[in-house]
């Protein structure tokens, strides 16, 4: 009885919220929906907190609560039950999802105010929370995949929320397709894992059972499975080479960018790798791949973010970069550091997006940084909270981002990945620079074109900002307990390559890098506003490459889309000439055959059937003459019969 907790309730609330808002939202009206929908998520959050306390009461090595609902699929060897799992990992994710999710629901009440599809927006948000909770709480890989696809669907629906504009619809489709490529790898990984274990007699997708039997698998097999699963993670978490959808996903409403494309859904990949850490830990090559992809993505996306002019695009590339950090962390075996950064990032990046949303809201839809400026006077709360978030992401102590980023870099260094550590520190400097560039362009300097009629957002939007700012500041305290808490679920015993003392050196170096980035940003955008334009002109080649995001979209467009279209036209010709020819010939043949068969049917088959029935009718009409209806005829027959019988009895 001690290890029980109704986890199902946690998932039920957003589902009920979704069902009510999608079916009755229009009738209930926006006022009721804006209370109902956030409170569904709040209830889930309260239950997550209760679950956390329940877990903390258990001894550390027994901190697992499983809530079994029913058997979902039972075919042959495959037996999959719908069951949910609370452990150190999933409870943290559930808290982030419901906590940040609740704040963003509240914020959306203000941000989406007056939108035509207001109730539908909240229905989608609730559906998203529901799917995300299934993803993080599912106790087997298939349930996780279900949530994985569910959040993908919500992402698609919400990116294309204002589908009246064609670009938004295209962005939604792009996100969906790119995710599909990753998901293909993910499901292939799941199937391969299932079959590999199955060939050893263990048919399961349950995390615990996989973990117990993982020693049965060969090393190469594990590497392939890990790489396939990681392919899914690169799609969902926007890593190289599948990151291209995330910047375009900014077409959705800003709360969506904050919730789905910064705080929760895109971190699903990190969560998945951490969840499967027992598998990754057995494959150094897969770990290496994760770390390298993460580190490169962090650097690559940071360089693009340097020159972007759209406030949300800067944040989008920043998100990709930070996700890269997380993968770097889990890739070098610092799982707790990766998860820690995931949580602090959820706070400050959600805050940054919501702040950007507040700015966009205040400027009636303006997103271009060049047209902003001097907003700190008209939007003081947004300015202060965003400043705190920017300090956090830049890694300035004592804000949250400093602790988590440092743990990742320290883990990288400790495991002997020196070049990745250097790349990470350099990227930290870039991060500080582009974040302050964004902040200063928007809030500092001369008053922009829109600034005069800019206004601060209503309290329903600024209070979530303040709460998130609070966590961005104190979130670093989690560092004291985090490592110890995560340890039983995901740990990796790496040989320490460097002495513990060098941690201090590294900390100082990374703070210096961040401070340098910030100073450069101040120099460019406050002290000498003209210098940056001059620099851009002098290095116009690099500048243009960065501004156009390394032309990756164009390359993909050429390599995949164009090639696919050419292949399509070839296939279409093949289809028309040969396939259609075969089909038409066979159809002509069929027509002839059926004509003959029809004739046979009419003459022979129908003829014999009709003949039999005609015979029966004529026989019947003759036989009915016997029944005259005359009583005396019948009596005569009886008497004759009796006489015959008597004669037979007498003479025979």
């Amino acid at each position: 009885m001690e290890n029980e907790f109704p986890i199902r309730l946690l998932i039920l609330f957003p589902l009920i919220g979704f069902l009510i808002t999608i079916f009755y939202g229009r009738r209930l009206g926006p006022r009721i929906v804006s209370i109902l929908s956030p409170s569904a998520v709040l209830l889930s959050f309260i239950f997550s907190c209760a679950g956390l306390f329940k877990l903390l009461h258990l001894p550390p090595e027994e901190r697992v609560i499983i809530d079994n609902l029913y058997t979902w699929i039972n075919v042959g060897m495959l037996n999959i039950s719908v069951s949910f799992r609370f452990d150190q990992l999933s409870i943290l994710m559930a808290l982030v999802v419901t906590g940040v999710g609740f704040l963003i629901h509240v914020y959306s009440v203000g941000y989406m105010h007056g939108d035509k599809k207001y109730t539908r927006f909240f229905a989608y948000l609730n559906l998203f929370i529901f799917s995300m909770l299934i993803l993080v709480l599912g106790n087997n890989l298939l349930l996780m995949f279900l949530g994985w696809e569910g959040v993908g669907l919500c992402s698609y629906l919400l990116i294309g929320f204002w589908f009246e504009k064609v670009e938004n619809a295209i962005a939604a489709i792009k996100a969906f397709i790119v995710n599909r490529i990753g998901d293909m790898g993910f499901i292939m990984g799941i199937i391969l894992l299932f079959w590999s274990l199955g060939s050893h007699g263990v048919w399961t997708l349950d995390f615990d059972i996989i973990k117990q039997n993982v020693h049965l698998l060969g090393r190469e097999r594990i590497t392939i499975i890990c790489l396939l699963l990681f392919m899914g993670a690169t799609g969902k978490s926007a890593q190289l080479p599948l990151y291209v959808w995330l910047p375009d996903a900014m077409a959705g409403p800003t709360p969506v960018s904050a919730l789905i494309h910064a705080a929760t859904m895109v971190t699903a990949g990190v969560y998945m790798v951490t969840r499967m850490s027992f598998l990754y830990s057995l494959s150094p090559f897969a770990m290496e791949t994760v770390a390298v992809v993460g580190g490169l993505t962090a650097f690559f996306a940071a360089t693009i973010a340097l020159v972007q002019n759209d406030i949300k695009k800067v944040l989008a590339y920043s998100t990709i970069s930070q996700l890269g950090y997380m993968f770097l962390g889990v890739g070098v075996g610092a799982y707790s550091a990766g998860m820690f950064h995931l949580i602090t990032h959820a706070f400050f990046k959600a805050l940054l997006f919501l702040g950007a949303g507040s700015v966009i809201h205040g400027l009636s839809g303006e997103q271009d940084l060049r047209k902003m400026g001097g907003l700190r006077k008209s939007m003081p709360i947004t300015w202060i909270t965003m400043l705190l978030a920017t300090l956090a992401i830049s890694g300035i102590p004592p804000f949250a981002g400093f602790f988590s980023k440092d743990e990742i870099l320290w883990g990288t260094l400790k495991s002997g990945h020196y070049y990745l550590a250097v790349l990470g520190i350099f990227t930290a400097g870039l991060t500080a620079f582009y974040m302050f560039r964004m902040l200063l362009l928007a809030f500092w300097g001369r008053t922009g074109a829109h600034a005069p009629h800019a206004h601060e957002s209503p309290p329903v939007m600024t209070i979530p900002l303040a709460v998130l700012a609070f966590f961005s500041v104190v979130g670093g305290l989690l560092a004291l307990t985090m490592h110890h808490f995560i340890e039983p679920v995901a740990s990796y015993k790496a040989v320490s390559a460097v002495s513990e003392h060098s941690e201090w050196i590294m900390v100082v170096v990374s703070i210096v890098a961040a401070a340098t980035g910030i100073s450069v940003a101040f120099f460019f955008y406050v002290a000498r506003p003209g210098v940056s334009a001059g620099l851009a002109n002098r290095t116009s080649g690099i500048y243009r490459v960065l501004l156009n995001k390394y032309y990756v979209d164009e390359i993909y467009n050429f390599l995949f889309v164009r090639m696919l279209l050419i292949l399509n036209s070839i296939l279409a010709k093949f289809d028309i000439k040969i396939i259609d020819g075969i089909v038409n010939a066979s159809s002509a043949l069929t027509v002839d055959v059926s004509y003959g068969s029809g004739k046979f049917d009419l003459s022979v088959v129908d003829g014999s059937v009709n003949g039999i029935s005609d015979g029966v009718i004529s026989a019947g009409s003759k036989a009915r003459r016997l029944q005259t209806g005359n009583l005396q005829n019948y009596v005569t027959a009886v008497v004759v019969g009796i006489i015959c019988l008597v004669l037979v009895i007498i003479f025979v």
Binding site: Q627, G629, L631, V635
Partner: protein, 100 residues
């Protein structure tokens, strides 16, 4: 009368009854003929009861037949009245409404 003469009388009654049933068109005449058949049989039963080892069984049987004859007459008259009401005559050849 000797048993044989009674036997002849009874058979004569029986055959006359059969003839009447087969030839008469009037329903009441047919009914009367049926009575003749029954009473011919009754007479035979009494005859054999008295003169053979059949004993009282035959006489009991006769009582049954008399009872049934009464019932048959009552039912028969009722049917004939029904036919008369719908057809205004009691000719059995005309009563062929139920013929298919």
């Amino acid at each position: 009368m000797s048993p044989f003469e009674i036997f002849l009388l009874a058979d004569a009654l029986f055959v006359i009854g059969i003839f009447g049933v087969l030839t008469r068109k009037n329903a009441i005449a047919i009914l009367i003929s049926v009575e003749l058949i029954l009473n011919g049989v009754n007479l035979n039963l009494i005859n054999f009861a008295r003169n053979t080892a059949l004993g009282a069984k035959g006489q009991v049987f006769v009582l049954f037949v008399i009872l049934l004859a009464a019932l048959e007459a009552a039912l028969g008259i009722a049917i004939i009245l029904g036919i008369y009401r719908s057809l205004k005559k009691i000719d059995v050849d005309e009563a062929r409404v139920l013929r298919g």
